[in-house]
């Protein structure tokens, strides 16, 4: 490569060197935006997500709670949630997981047979381990499909990693002073013992002429010189030592830890949360995404089948929330401290925001407009092989009670401004 005439070669090279030597910033988040839109809009819809704190010291805990709805129009490309592991997405083990549950059932092991169209409630307690600022998400991993990541919040861990400890007590009585270091010194010592014997065996041979003289002697059919009776005796000794070390070590470990258990591998089951009473019937009509306007316009027909008037308060998809700013109950539904980068600033525009009376059927037109469509890389549903989307609609009655309905269908792109 030739430097440009206005930039002397040595300056160009110096700049390259500086760039190469400058320290790369560690990744705080972990590529959740890289997940295809059909994964984020038509699988698990996360709601009521709460993080108990946004700053904690090493050894302190943060509790992440919330719910998810498994969307009825589950994509063909994603395996159904027959085996699911409830987890958290963080950049490596910067937090230690203290406990977790799904609908109150311990979630250390995977769950089987989650039901599409139903809701589940999770909880996980994480302990600060590595100081830094991290994006912490709830997550479920579906066997055959991989992780489905929920919304993330930046959480700062302060203090010193050296102070971190995770003590436990074994059922058999042993005191595990720290899960970080338990048993490591024994493993290292044992490996050093075996390594010592192996090195002695290798040294026994390489102290003598090693390659060329032995090769030449062998070509001259003087194999008798290359291994002697002493070597044979050493080999027999080595065999005895290795067998004795192995079974002696095994016997020592058995006597030292007489009660051990195999890895635990069964799956768990929990019934979904009780289904909410149905208050609305939704019939999807059409949806268009206005590319230059970064706006999703949707038309759907809603019938109020309850005995109370309802208003639409929120449309949520892919963890982005479009909240009706004219409905106090909907605004109150956004928990304090919820990450504002995934709450649309312009809110949700509704053509007719008046109450939907009991028994009334209305065609609703909503505009969900925000740069988040682009920032969260959701517009690539226009290039997906399955150009459909989905989301949750949150309706509220006059008492402020919330009712959740699903909506979704094909989506069409609009590439030109209409005005």
């Amino acid at each position: 490569m030739r430097a440009s005439p206005c930039m002397p070669g040595h300056i160009f090279h110096a700049l390259i060197a500086v760039l190469l030597c400058s320290q790369a910033l560690p990744a705080g988040a972990h590529g959740e935006r890289a997940q295809e839109p059909y994964l984020r809009t038509r699988t698990a819809h996360w709601y009521d997500v709460k993080w108990s704190v946004d700053k904690l010291a090493v050894n302190d805990t943060v509790t992440v709670t919330g719910r998810f709805r498994l969307f009825h129009d589950w994509p063909d490309a994603v395996r159904p949630p027959e085996t699911v592991f409830v987890s958290n997405a963080t950049p490596g083990p910067v937090f230690a997981r203290v406990d977790s549950s799904l609908n109150g059932v311990p979630a250390r092991q995977s769950f089987r047979d989650l039901q599409i169209g139903r809701d589940y409630e999770y909880k996980m307690v994480l302990k600060g381990r590595v100081p830094g600022r991290y994006h912490v998400h709830p997550m479920i991993a579906v066997k055959g499909s991989g992780p489905l990541v929920g919304p993330g919040r930046w959480i700062e861990v302060t203090g010193n990693q050296a102070d971190f400890a995770f003590p436990m007590t074994a059922i058999s009585g042993e005191n595990i002073e720290n899960l970080e270091t338990w048993g490591v010194s024994t493993a290292v010592k044992w490996h050093l013992i075996l390594l010592g014997v192996a090195v002695l065996w290798i040294l026994w041979w390489i102290r003598r002429p090693l390659l060329i003289p032995r090769y030449l002697a062998l070509k001259k059919e003087r194999e008798d010189l290359l291994t002697t009776n002493v070597d044979l005796g050493v080999a027999i000794g080595l065999l005895v030592v290795t067998v004795a070390l192995s079974f002696g070590g095994y016997a020592w470990a058995r006597s030292h830890y007489p009660r051990t258990v195999p890895l635990q591998a069964g799956t768990m089951y929990t019934a979904p949360l009780p289904a909410q009473p149905k208050v609305v019937d939704i019939r999807f009509k059409e949806a268009r995404y206005d590319v230059p306007g970064r706006s999703m316009r949707m038309v759907f027909e809603v019938t109020n089948v309850s005995d109370k008037p309802l208003r639409l308060g929120e449309f949520a998809t892919a963890s982005i929330r479009f909240v009706n700013q004219h409905l106090p109950a909907a605004k109150a539904n956004v928990a304090p401290g919820y990450p504002q980068d995934i709450v649309a600033r312009t809110g949700l525009a509704i053509a007719d925001d008046s109450e939907i009376k009991p028994g009334e059927t209305r065609t609703m037109r909503i505009d969900a407009t925000d740069a988040a469509w682009e920032i969260e890389r959701l517009t690539s549903f226009l290039t997906d092989v399955d150009s459909k989307f989905g989301g949750l609609l949150f309706f509220f009655d006059t008492q402020g009670n919330r009712y959740i309905a699903e909506v979704g269908g094909p989506i069409l792109p609009v590439f030109k401004k209409s005005v």
Binding site: P147, L225, L263
Partner: protein, 270 residues
């Protein structure tokens, strides 16, 4: 210098200067080959049985004792063939096992602990040192590749579990967590989250060998021994095949194509 060494050097026919040079050259070769095989064996193991060796919560009684020795035997067996066939040195497997263990600890320290934040407890590696040394010793005793495969291969797998248990038994103590029993290894896998490695992805014992009561590990060990016999035979021959130098006759046109000969001019033919 021992009389035996003196005799070997004498038989080799090398003059004293060449003996000195060959010794220096050997150390360079040893250093280069050690690094090369350290990387090769480690890469091979990571690609074939990676998670079983990487994570303590994958070291189960059924698959870990089966697949890890079978995979870890391969390149050391090839090395054993090369060292024995050309130099009558019964150190190939031991050398392979030493290099593998060193490489594994290097990656555990720098890759997993320093870079990936994982505690050492998560990645305590398995070792094949005991089985490798026994197999090398058997080779020198029986002096036959067939018998080494038969006895050495089996012993290699047989020693795998008992020689690893002293370093791993502590991770199989029972603990209580959320009202359920778990091993310490299960807890380590749970406490230190791996976002891309959910619990269900573990290929571990699911209770299918229940009829063998608590002897699952020895059933798997025996089976691993049988496979290791054949695996040793195969990789011994692969080692020999890849260390054989052959000269292949080539056409003049091919040599010209490769830039090794003058051009063939039709006019000159005439």
């Amino acid at each position: 210098m021992s009389p035996n060494t003196r005799e070997i050097l004498q038989v080799s026919g090398l003059p004293p200067e060449a003996v000195k040079l060959s010794r220096i050259w050997e150390w360079f070769v040893v250093a280069a080959v050690a690094l090369l095989f350290m990387g090769a064996i480690h890469l091979h193991v990571m690609l074939t049985v990676g998670d079983w060796d990487m994570f303590v919560d994958w070291k189960d009684r059924q698959f870990w004792v089966l697949v890890v020795p079978v995979s870890m035997l391969m390149i050391p067996a090839a090395l054993q063939a090369v060292f024995w066939h050309y130099f009558r040195l019964p150190i190939g497997m031991t050398l392979g096992a030493v290099l593998l263990l060193i490489a594994t600890w290097i990656t555990r320290i720098f890759g997993w602990h320093i870079w990936g934040y994982f505690p050492f407890t998560m990645g305590v590696p398995s070792t094949i040192l005991a089985g490798a040394m026994a197999c090398d010793a058997i080779l020198l005793i029986v002096r036959s590749s067939l018998l080494t495969s038969t006895f050495g291969g089996f012993v290699f797998a047989l020693l795998f579990y008992p020689s690893n248990w002293p370093s791993l038994a502590a991770y199989f103590l029972p603990v209580e967590h959320q009202g359920m029993v778990a091993s310490v290894a299960d807890m380590i896998g749970y406490v230190y989250p791996r976002s891309g490695t959910p619990e269900y992805i573990r290929l571990i014992e699911r209770g299918t060998l229940r009829t063998y009561e608590g002897s699952t590990v020895w059933v798997s060990t025996f089976f691993a021994g049988i496979i290791c016999i054949f695996m040793h035979m195969i990789w011994w021959r692969i080692g020999l095949a890849f260390s054989t130098q052959r000269f292949v006759a080539t056409s003049k046109r091919f040599r010209h194509f490769m830039g090794l000969a003058d051009a063939v001019h039709p006019a000159s033919k005439a």
